[in-house]
Every structure is written in C-alpha cells, then in structure tokens.
Amino acid sequence: MKCREVHNKIYFFIDNDLAEEEASHIREHIGQCDSCRHLYEEMMATVSVIEREKQVEINPFFYTRLQQHIQNNEPVYVRKPSLIRSLQWIPAALVIIGLVIGIILGNAYYKSWTYADTSDRSENIQSLKETYFIGEQETESLAYSFYNFENNEE
C-alpha cells in the first residue's frame, strides 16, 4: 500500500468504517512508515477532541434562568401570534428603508471615509458596523427556511 492510499482512507480507518482486510493493510503500512504513523497519531488525537468536547456540564439553574428570561421579556404565555407576526415585519421594513438610504448615501459616505482623519475613524467604523448588521435579518430568514420548509411538510 502506498502513502497516498493511506491518506485517502485514514479518517475512515480512525472511524472504524473500513472492512477488516483494508484496515489491516493500513495498520501494516503505519507500522512501517514513519510519516504515515505521524499523520495517524496527529489525526487520531485531533478527532478525539470531539469526544472530550461533547461532554457539556449542564447548569443546574437552567430552568430558573429560563423562567426569569421569560418573565422579563414579553408575557410569552399570552399567545398572540398574528400580532407578533405583523410586528416582526417592522424591523424588516426598517431594514429595507435603511438599505435604500444607505445606497443613496453610499457615495458621500465613501468620500468621508476616504478623507477621514484618525479621529473620525472610530465613528466611521461604528456606522459600518451598523450597516453590516442589517444583513442579519436576511440570514435569519434564510436559515429559517430550512425549518419552515419542513414544518410545511408535516
């Protein structure tokens, strides 16, 4: 077996996905080839990080915190989906208005950015940050389509 073949199967070897015959060829090669043995050891150690990281210690006050969270926010127990839904459009509408204004002001903004001295810079970065976060709404709905799509299927 060549090193290249080992490189193409090493993850599956570590994951015990290979048939015994194939696995034994790899074992044999690793026994003789320093470079592949090094690769195997490094990858094995890296993949086993998953085992360590998947153990999460759960905070015993999780529910208490959740209760506070719910009480401090809107009264979630009172369901008013249609109202909530229509309110949800307001930020989206603001985003669109913001984008349009942003595009209009784009040129002027770019100029001020280019000519700004150091003292103005942090302020400009601040506005950039806000502009950037507008995209959030879009990503949110994109990712949600995965979930909503499935809801419709049910």
Partner: protein
C-alpha cells in the same frame, strides 16, 4: 404522561408541564447547540432561546413528528444563525484591528500547560475543518458525532432520505480528511 399529553398541557399554559418539558430535553438541546457553537455559555444561552421559541410556537406543532425532532430543528437553526453572526462579528473586529492598527489580540496562554495548549490547537484545527464544510454536511456530521444521532434520526431532523444522510456524512468525512491530512502531513 405521554408526549401528546405533555404538549397539550403546555399549550394550555400549565407551567409545571413546561418545566417538565424543559427538564426532559435541556441536556439534549444544550449538547446540540454546543456541537455547533463549541462554547458552554453560548450553548446555554441558545438553548434558552430554543425553549422560549418552543413556548411561543408549540401550538403550531402538529405532532406528526416527535417532539425531539422538532427541538433538534429549532436548536440547529438557532445555532447556525448564531455561528453566522459570530463570523460577521469576527470579520468586523478583524477589520477594526486592521484599520485601527491595534493588531490582533494575542491570547495569553502562558498560564496553560503545554498539553492544554496542544489540545486547544487541535480543537481549533478541528473546528476550522468542520466549519469549512458545506452546511448540510456540517449539520449531519455534527448531529452524528456530537449528539450521537443515528442516520435515521438525522434523516428525520433534516427531512432528507436515509441515503442522503449517508452521503452527507461520507462527504463530510472526506472533506475533513482532506483538510487534516493537508495540515498534518509531513
């Protein structure tokens, strides 16, 4: 109490039923979020959001799939949104540093032992490799490896066929293998 009964009582506003639901599923939800965000605190915060959403939308849940399947979906979506927001924040802070000339923050690891440092580095490399996978591969792989879901359960959560899950996970492993071999090959 059956799952159906529990859901019915939560819809009726029975707080003890909601508490029961949270306590039954909190470990699962927190672990799932942690598989995507790799941070205990963030995973707890996201799980809080998951249960708030559950409370707000449980009346829309049609009970044709298992409650856990629905919870996994909500948890995965919240986690992916969080990760994409984090990425953008990282981008901004890199930009700020570059423009402000502050330079990148160098994490002080002098307190860590060598072993810890090596482990942190391995963890970083693995995350980066997983993060570089296409989204559906990442979801299938993470649910399988971090949450130990069977391919069948993953198929239900992602609403795809069993063979798609097999293919997604196979491709995820190929992708990770390529990255890791490239990184570690002498």
């Amino acid at each position: 109490m059956s799952e159906n009964e529990l859901i019915g009582r939560v819809i009726d506003g029975d707080e003890s039923a909601f508490r029961r639901l949270v306590e039954d599923y909190q470990d699962m939800v927190i672990r799932t979020c942690n598989g995507f965000v790799h941070d205990r605190e963030d995973a707890h915060d996201l799980a809080q959001d998951v249960f708030v959403e559950v409370l707000e939308s449980i009346h829309k849940f049609r009970r044709e799939s298992k409650l856990s399947t629905w919870l996994y979906r909500v948890a995965v979506n919240k986690s992916l949104n969080f990760v994409s927001r984090q990425k953008r924040k990282q981008w901004i802070s890199n930009l700020e540093n570059a423009l402000g000339g502050k330079g990148y923050d160098i994490i002080d690891k002098s307190g860590d032992s060598d072993k810890e440092m090596i482990n942190n580095e391995r963890s970083r490399i693995l995350r980066q490799a997983i993060e570089s996978l296409p989204q559906n591969q990442k979801i299938a792989f993470t649910l399988n490896k971090y949450e130990e879901l069977s391919y069948k359960e993953i198929a239900e959560v992602m609403n795809v066929s069993l063979s798609s899950v097999e293919s997604l996970i196979h491709r995820a492993k190929m992708g990770l293998q390529k990255k890791l071999v490239h990184y570690y090959k002498k």
